[in-house]
């Protein structure tokens, strides 16, 4: 059962790729890493990378790193999606397609895991890092060093998932790895352990982020910003981080128990011997359902900001929106059982969870109506972020209706685990989460880059995503009604699924064009940065505090922390002052900011050793990791020189310079 005796645990040469498809995946990963390293060496950027990025404790830098990693992972998991749909389009009757079933199962397990944990969560934490401190008029988050640890733990999760392509294999048990399938007896390889440790480590990072951001919102708002004057994005982040704090410990514990089962022969979730697989399913969804709202709430916040700005109007029904957000937060912990009405819990239990599920549609519906009425009597500019919003409303409403249908237990019996369900949750997550963060990235991009993203490519990207989405997931609703279950790597020709799978495959291809357009958009925008430079700090006629700073934002955010007495403070200032006269700080005071620190990165490296050691049962490696991480924390705890000061005089000089460059002087 346990091979701890051997020095390398379960690791041996057979862990390396043995067949063309695995070798292809491994070559892509290794080639990608070597390519990046070669570029860094060629352009002599190693030192820059280390000083400006890897060791930075500036939330804006950390935010950008989250987003870069998330975009790379979007490409990776998107490639998985292309492979799955290609397989399903051709693997019919006597043709068995390009992938064997084990590969296919690894691919969809990785697709789901990566999209939720490393794309959705990555984009979300990235945007929160970038925007939230600015919006509350703060220079930093509450715990800048903890923020760095969070990022590096997230990154270790990413590394482990992708390392499984090179050494060993990934889990083939689905993105939530239900036992008994995920138990040692049925999944004897290291795949499930990769899954466990990747999420275990990234999940702890998420929990730390949750604590960090919630504390930041509670403690670090600028003068005058009472709770009911916070921007809507900040409210939704507060809701989401509350959910993180309550939900992620459940995930951590559940994964630990599964690992104990697999490694130490325990029986928490095994079939027989007193184990209870239903307990696992309950626990994983008690985390899993709130997780959906963790991802989508901040995206709702982004839409609230975008709609108000591009309609040139105050957000409609602010108080309703706040209540709706917290209603969703509270309700999201009372619906988890709707993921398994078919487990046989009985009519009373099913009805309760079905009704709670439907109730959650009410606050969500209220939000949509409020956004529509924010546009009402506005002056709507249909820039790219607004297009993402329009696409979101169309798709999210339809997907939401599908969700309400699934919320009726007796309907769910027929649609559970079918492609109808797959289509439903992709509609919610793609339109709600991805479109939301795409809108947010386009909207706030100039604040950090100093220039706007190209609108033409943004438009192409939007239409490819929107049309591609309809083609990719429309057929899945029908397939679900045809009785097609999810995760099929092969099916009989007589079922008539093939034409619809082909259309779905074409749809995914069009989405891939959309992603290409987005990557080109960044490239083209950088080339044209001189024409699209944001010289005012306020390219969209914004409303909230972040637009009062020059673009790109100086590393200290605000030379003098602002004071607000309005929900749209910057809009109010613009209304009040005569055109062209900037409000300039009169009096500067010295400030303190955290110094760079590499310790977060070192903790990440040691955590990687813990994970890798635990996966391959290399005890000494895990022990070194644990000890190393502990020593790192000790060193940091005893370091009294973690901050540097900027004198009032220096600050004034820096600020004048930034304002001159940013056109604010």
């Amino acid at each position: 059962m346990i091979e701890f005796a051997s020095l390398l645990g379960k690791l041996n040469w057979s862990a390396l790729p043995q067949d063309p498809i695995t070798a292809g995946g491994a070559a892509t990963v290794v080639g990608g890493v070597l390519g990046v390293m070669a570029l860094l060496t060629y352009f002599k950027r190693w030192k820059w990378l280390w000083k400006e990025w890897l060791t930075s404790l500036d939330p804006k830098k950390i935010g950008v790193m989250y987003i870069v990693v998330a975009v790379v992972m979007l490409v990776r998991a998107g490639t998985d999606a292309l492979m799955m749909r290609t397989q399903q389009a051709i693997s019919v009757g006597s043709n068995h397609g390009i992938l064997d079933s084990n590969h296919f199962q690894q691919i969809f397990s990785a697709h789901g895991t990566i999209m939720i944990f490393f794309v959705g969560m990555g984009l979300m934490f990235g945007l929160i890092n970038l925007i939230m401190p600015l919006q509350i008029g703060s220079r930093d988050v509450a715990f800048p060093f903890l923020n760095s640890i969070s990022f590096w733990l997230f990154f270790v999760g990413v590394v482990l998932v992708n390392l499984s392509l090179v050494i060993g294999a990934f889990s083939a048990a689905g993105w939530l790895a239900y036992p008994p399938l995920s138990e040692l007896r049925y999944s004897p390889g290291v795949g499930v352990d990769y899954w466990i440790w990747s999420l275990e480590i990234a999940g702890i990072g998420s929990l730390l982020s949750g604590i960090n951001f919630l504390t930041t919102i509670i403690k670090m708002r600028c003068k005058g910003m009472t709770l009911m004057k916070m921007p809507m994005f900040v409210w939704t982040v507060m809701g989401a981080m509350t959910l993180v704090i309550f939900a992620f410990p459940i995930l951590t514990v559940t994964l630990t128990l599964l690992y104990l089962d697999r490694t130490f022969g325990m029986h928490f979730f095994t079939a027989g011997d007193g184990g209870n697989m239903m307990m696992y399913v309950n626990l994983i969804w008690a985390w899993g359902h709130p997780e959906v709202y963790i991802l989508v709430l901040p995206a709702f916040g982004v839409f609230s900001e975008v709609v108000a700005t591009f309609s040139r109007k105050r957000l409609f029904g602010y108080t309703s929106m706040v209540w709706a957000t917290w209603a969703i937060v509270a309700l999201s912990f009372s619906v988890w059982l709707h993921h398994f009405f078919t487990m046989g819990a009985g009519a009373d239990v099913n009805s309760f969870f079905g009704i709670m599920t439907m109730i959650i549609a009410v606050p969500t519906g209220v939000k949509i109506f409020n956004w529509l009425f924010t546009m009402y009597r506005g002056r709507i500019l249909f820039a790219t972020p607004m297009r993402w919003f329009m696409g979101f409303v169309v798709l999210f409403t339809l997907g939401g209706i599908a969700g309400v249908l699934l919320g009726v237990p007796a309907i769910d019996f027929q649609l559970h685990n079918s492609l109808f369900l797959v289509a439903h949750f992709h509609t919610m997550i793609v339109s709600g989460v991805l479109f939301g963060y795409f809108a947010g990235i386009t909207y706030w991009f100039p604040k950090f880059a100093g220039f706007r993203l190209n609108e033409r490519f943004g438009n192409y990207a939007f239409w490819c995503w929107f049309i591609g989405f309809i083609l990719a997931f429309g057929p899945l609703y029908v397939l679900g009604l045809m009785g097609a279950t999810r995760r099929l790597d092969h099916y009989s020709a007589s079922l008539g699924y093939q034409p619809l799978f082909i259309v779905a495959g074409i749809g995914v291809g069009i989405i891939a064009l959309g992603v290409t357009a987005q990557l080109l958009q960044v490239f083209v925008s950088i080339r044209q940065r001189h024409e699209s430079r944001d010289t005012t700090g306020d390219p969209w006629n914004g409303r909230t505090l972040e637009w009062s700073t020059p673009s790109p934002v100086p590393y200290y955010n605000y030379a003098v922390t602002p004071e607000v007495d309005n929900r749209d403070p910057f809009w109010a200032v613009k209304q009040a002052r005569t055109a062209g006269v900037a409000v300039e700080p009169q009096h500067y005071e010295a400030i303190t900011l955290p110094k760079n620190s590499a310790i977060g990165l070192y903790i990440g490296i040691f955590s990687f050793l813990i994970g890798f050691g635990a996966i391959w049962h290399i005890v000494w490696l895990a022990a070194i990791g644990l000890f190393g991480a502990f020593v790192c924390i000790l060193i940091r705890c005893n370091d009294d020189h973690t901050e540097h000061h900027i004198s009032a005089k220096k600050l004034e000089q820096l600020d004048k310079q930034a304002r001159a460059q940013g056109g604010l002087a």
Binding site: Y186, G274, G346, A347, V408, A410, V478, R486, L495
Partner: protein, 306 residues
């Protein structure tokens, strides 16, 4: 010309695409919308009813979206602009109410249908129900007929208009037992017996499958569910009872080994209480919940939360 073309092209593409879709859907079977039994029929009607109800949300949202987006576009200078119009008690009350009303109606429907369509609830029929025991194996379905003393693999036959009491377990990982044209599914789990009542109202062969990932052979874990007249069923059962393959414990253990894409097979005289024996395999020391075969109690006593 160019501007006209810009409007006509997308409309033509969409119209062409939609007609192709309609044509396709008319020429293909959509099992869940074309049920062949009372359970599936009620579930389908429920689906259509909820879909109809949802129009009360879809129509206002989509019309408001199109109307507002068009009317208040930036280039329309004549539209009213009120940048500070940010709340209205009446309007907001209305849309806390619209979805609430829809959900209230649907909640009542959900409650009632959860009870009337509870998979554990026996069906109303003058014909006495027939029991079929279902065991999910790696990667095939075993059907045991305790009354007929036969068993079959990947084919389940039963008389039409007779309520079938499926008792379901697994001798492997979790699966989900689903015959879309007859009605909803339920999980099969090792050491636990779940129950599903279904009935076919006409002759026919229906696709059955596992709807929960169960490992390598998952996609091939399909079966045929065939309903026929009572006479034809009895003839079929008699035929199966003549099978040379007897489902002794040894034969069962052989069958239990993982295998993929299994052909249909028949067995005679299955070992006595085979189903109970399979359930009992998962009784471990100190188990309070697993393996409690209570002959179909609706309780999920193993929720582990008591």
């Amino acid at each position: 010309m160019n501007k006209k073309f810009k409007v006509i092209l997308p409309v033509a593409v969409i119209a062409g695409f939609l007609s192709l879709a309609v044509w396709y859907l008319r020429h293909t079977t959509i099992p869940i919308l074309e049920p062949r039994g009372p359970v599936g029929l009620q579930e389908r009607n429920l689906l259509l009813f909820a879909l109809g109800l949802s129009l009360f949300v879809i129509i206002p949202v989509f019309s408001l979206l199109i109307f507002i987006a068009w009317k208040y576009r930036e280039s329309n200078e004549s539209a009213k602009y009120s940048p500070d119009f940010d709340h209205s008690r009446i309007i907001e009350t209305v849309w806390w109410l619209i979805p609430s009303l829809m959900i209230s109606v649907l909640s009542v429907v959900a409650w009632n249908s959860s009870h009337s369509l509870d998979p554990y609830r026996p069906l109303n029929s003058t014909t006495p129900p027939m029991t079929i025991q279902v065991v999910a194996l790696d990667w095939k379905w075993l059907f045991i007929y305790p009354q007929q003393h036969i068993a079959s693999v990947n084919l389940v036959q039963f008389p039409k208009n007779t309520p079938i009491d499926f008792q379901i377990t697994s001798d492997s990982v979790m699966n989900s037992f689903w015959i879309p044209q007859l009605g909803g599914q339920i999980y099969s789990m090792p050491g636990m017996s779940s129950q599903l009542h279904l009935m076919a109202s006409q002759d026919g062969s229906f696709n059955g499958l596992s709807a929960n990932i169960s490992g390598t052979g998952f996609a091939g874990m399909t079966f045929v569910a065939r309903s026929s007249s009572l006479k034809a069923f009895e003839a079929w059962a008699h035929n199966a009872s003549q099978s040379q393959d007897k489902l002794s414990l040894a034969a069962y253990n052989k069958l239990d080994r993982p295998s993929q894409n299994n052909p249909v097979a028949f067995y005679s005289s299955p070992t006595k209480n085979l189903y109970g024996t399979i359930l009992a395999k998962y009784d471990g020391p100190g188990t309070a919940m697993s393996g409690m075969y209570t002959g179909g109690s609706a309780s999920m006593s193993g929720m582990g939360m008591q």
